[in-house]
């Protein structure tokens, strides 16, 4: 008891000395003259190559800006959906948090929960090219992407060869012909995870990208007007595919990514010839093979063009990951952090570790996997990348669209009914 005050005094004295020392040392740096701040960083990287990368990013950034402390909070991806809105309602939301752009970001911006970072990112935003558009609201930057991929067909080159298909189909009629050939060869042409609904939507979305003009696509996420004839045609062209019954048995109950009997597992284990999926698919497939390796037969080709479609040739469907700053995040620290994640050094590592497809110009060569390089090549040369519609639209409308498309896949809705359902959802609040 007696020496307790003494210990306390010693501690206080020590703290005072440290504080003075800190002030002296920090006055040396320019950035550090600013107030010391903490950035709470909510991200969804809980496994894989990103874990080490993120640790490095945080410690490097703190070294570069000694006044900033990064507090990283990894969360399961699925938890984000429920945790973000609740956290944004509170007085102390996370400063930096995962953002997929599109309609979700618009909703957050309308509610005043995300910070406009336009002026902070202006010096470098051009270096990530057209990718930035998906994270803008009315031309202002509210978040920035660090990895953007596109959806395409992952396919089994061996099975294609065995079925007598010399090269990957580039047009819709060629694609339908390839499916018939694969069926004749006794192979399930396409694996699809319809249980999750969003894999169904990839087909409808992509056909819309090919059939509708760029203007109609972009306007649809603002006005939610689906009267253009191309929307109905989308469902009708899709029906041509569905009528061929190209999917594996029981596809309506197949999950996209869980287990060897998922659609990714079927492709990985040679039980189906192709799957329309995002750039993440090799990583998913790897974990579903007995040898834990990306199969050597794997190839990639973009979604075929549809003759007579109004979409610009080479238009793609895609999406990605980015970060937003919440409304009360310390600035410019938060925007500086976004900038650091998009810096060439970090972007190159995002590519080289296989963590994502980097967005910064000059980082392309860091991607080593030949298939991902193909994906990157098509992405970089694409005149227009449409964000996945369920992400581009407000969540309620996007989900209603996915649900309606899933009904068409189950044979419970006509192309016209899909358009009606989404128009109906757009009218709701």
């Amino acid at each position: 008891m007696k020496n307790r005050p003494t210990t306390m005094w010693k501690l206080l004295a020590l703290a005072a000395v440290l504080a003075v020392a800190a002030t002296i040392s920090s006055s040396a740096g320019v950035a550090a003259r600013e107030q010391s701040v903490t950035l709470v960083w909510w991200h969804n990287v809980t496994q894989g190559p990103g874990v080490k990368l993120y640790k490095d990013i945080a410690s490097e950034f703190q070294k570069k800006y000694p006044n900033v402390t990064i507090k990283a909070v990894p969360l399961q991806n699925e938890q984000f959906k429920t945790k973000i809105p609740i956290a944004l309602q509170s007085d102390s939301p996370p400063d930096v948090f995962q953002s997929w752009g599109g309609g979700g970001l618009v909703d957050q911006q309308k509610a005043g929960k995300v910070a406009n970072v336009t002026k902070y990112v202006a010096p470098w935003i051009k270096s990530i090219g057209g990718s930035a558009a998906g994270w803008q609201v009315s031309g202002k930057q509210y978040a920035t992407p660090y990895s953007v991929g596109v959806v395409g067909f992952w396919y089994n080159k061996q099975l294609f060869r065995q079925a007598g298909i010399p090269s990957a189909p580039t047009t819709w009629p060629q694609f339908l012909a390839a499916i018939s050939k694969l069926k004749d060869a006794g192979v399930a042409p396409i694996a699809i995870g319809s249980k999750d609904e969003w894999p169904d939507a990839f087909y409808w979305d992509y056909l819309a990208v090919k059939l509708c003009s760029k203007r109609v696509m972009q306007q649809s996420a603002v006005t939610y007007n689906f009267r253009d004839a191309c929307w109905l045609k989308t469902g009708k062209v899709l029906q041509q595919l569905l009528d061929l019954e190209p999917f594996q048995d029981g596809f309506l109950a197949t999950p996209a990514q869980q287990g060897a009997s998922s659609s990714a597992g079927l492709l990985a284990n040679g039980k189906a010839a192709m799957e329309l999926q995002g750039h993440w698919n090799p990583g998913v497939m790897q974990s579903l093979t007995p040898a834990n390796k990306v199969p050597s037969f794997l190839g990639w080709f973009p979604f075929p063009d549809v003759p007579g479609g109004k979409g610009i040739k080479g238009s793609l469907l895609g999406g990605g990951d980015g970060y937003a700053c919440s409304w009360n995040a310390p600035q410019p620290a938060c925007a500086q952090f976004l900038g650091y994640i998009d810096s060439l050094s970090v972007q190159r590592r995002i590519g080289s570790t296989g963590f994502g497809l980097p967005v910064r110009k000059g980082s392309e060569s860091s991607v080593k996997d030949p298939n991902l390089r193909t994906v990157l090549k098509f992405r970089s040369s694409s005149p227009f990348i449409q964000l996945y519609l369920d992400q581009a639209y407000s969540a309620a409308i996007g989900q209603a669209l996915n649900g309606a498309i899933a009904k068409q896949f189950a044979g419970k809705a006509t192309p016209a009914q899909v358009v009606q359902e989404i128009a109906k959802a757009a009218k709701k609040k």
Partner: protein, 317 residues
């Protein structure tokens, strides 16, 4: 004499009696306060809040500003997808009562007889109930996948023609789920009925036998009436459970394909968590709450009232 004594005694005791009464209420108040506070904070307040949220169009972000009155409720009852989900819950209630009751009763009667390996059998029947819903769902996902255990088993015994797309056929999936649910919960019904059967005094069976009652008559006029309270409690739990069903469905099918296995609860989560229509989903939650609440009260009044003396009804309520 007594009245005279009573008045004087009463007057003498009047003051302490009031004090004692006040003290008694103070004690009750003190002891109840923590429980009441918890009840109010974690039950009453959220229910009131939910009712409030349900009258707004709200995406979970921003302020409650878009008041729509009963609009959400009108939309829910007008939405074919919600009506379909409600229908599924209704079918599930009916199926549970029609199939699970005789099944569980039969098994309980069998297991109540002196039988070799009876304890082992009881254990086997009860085991599924101990598994969590999530584990049950994952196990059956494996069993029921195309060319899975169920299909292979049918083929191996020469019934390959019966193989179905158990979870992918929109016309079949709900009944597949019902079988899984029955497998999961039947053990609980059996244990409940066994306990009830053991509460029936042997003498009644003996007396009935003496009077020349056949075993069927014995069952019909002795066993069943005396098992009544237990059956009524089980039915109550089964109906409420059917109305609130969520976990198994969500893990196995997400309510699909195309809503073919949806329930009110999966519809609610889909609207709230996936579509961010928090206000609307809350109105669905309030509807679900209302259905359970009204049903519970009516069941108490009309069905369980006669059992109240036994005390079981109060426990379940």
């Amino acid at each position: 004499v007594t009245s005279l004594d009573g008045t004087t005694a009463g007057r003498a005791k009047a003051q302490p009696a009031v004090v004692r009464l006040r003290r008694k209420w103070l004690e009750i108040g003190l002891f109840l306060a923590p429980a009441v506070a918890l009840y109010v904070i974690f039950l009453i307040v959220p229910v009131v809040q939910a009712v409030r949220y349900s009258t707004y169009a709200w995406n979970g972000l921003g302020d409650l500003s878009d008041y729509v009155g009963f609009g959400n409720y009108r939309e829910a009852f007008g939405d074919p997808a919600f009506r379909q989900a409600m229908g599924h819950n209704g079918i599930l209630v009916a199926l549970s009562l029609v199939f699970q009751l005789p099944l569980a009763l039969g098994a309980a009667l069998l297991l109540n007889r002196p039988l070799r390996g009876r304890s082992l059998l009881r254990l086997l029947f009860f085991t599924p109930y101990v598994l969590s819903e999530a584990i049950t769902a994952v196990i059956f996902l494996q069993i029921l996948q195309p060319d899975g255990l169920a299909d292979e088993f049918l083929r191996s015994i020469g019934l390959g023609d019966l193989v179905q797309l158990w979870l992918a056929d929109p016309d079949l999936v709900f009944y597949t789920l019902f079988v899984v649910i029955t497998w999961k919960y039947i053990g609980f019904a059996i244990i409940l009925f066994l306990a009830g059967l053991q509460g029936i005094p042997r003498e009644l069976h003996d007396a009935a036998a003496m009077d020349g009652a056949s075993s069927w008559t014995n069952l019909r006029y002795v066993t069943l009436p005396l098992l009544g309270p237990t059956i009524r409690i089980w039915a109550f739990l089964a109906i409420i459970g059917s109305i609130q069903l969520f976990d198994i469905v969500w893990i196995m099918t997400l309510g699909g394909p195309a809503g073919a296995s949806s329930t009110m609860a999966t519809y609610m989560v889909d609207q709230g968590v996936n579509s961010y229509r928090i206000g609307y989903a809350t109105s669905v939650a309030v509807i679900l709450f209302g259905i359970c609440f009204v049903f519970s009260i009516l069941y108490q009044i009309f069905v369980l009232r006669r059992d109240v003396a036994g005390g079981t009804a109060r426990m379940a309520g």
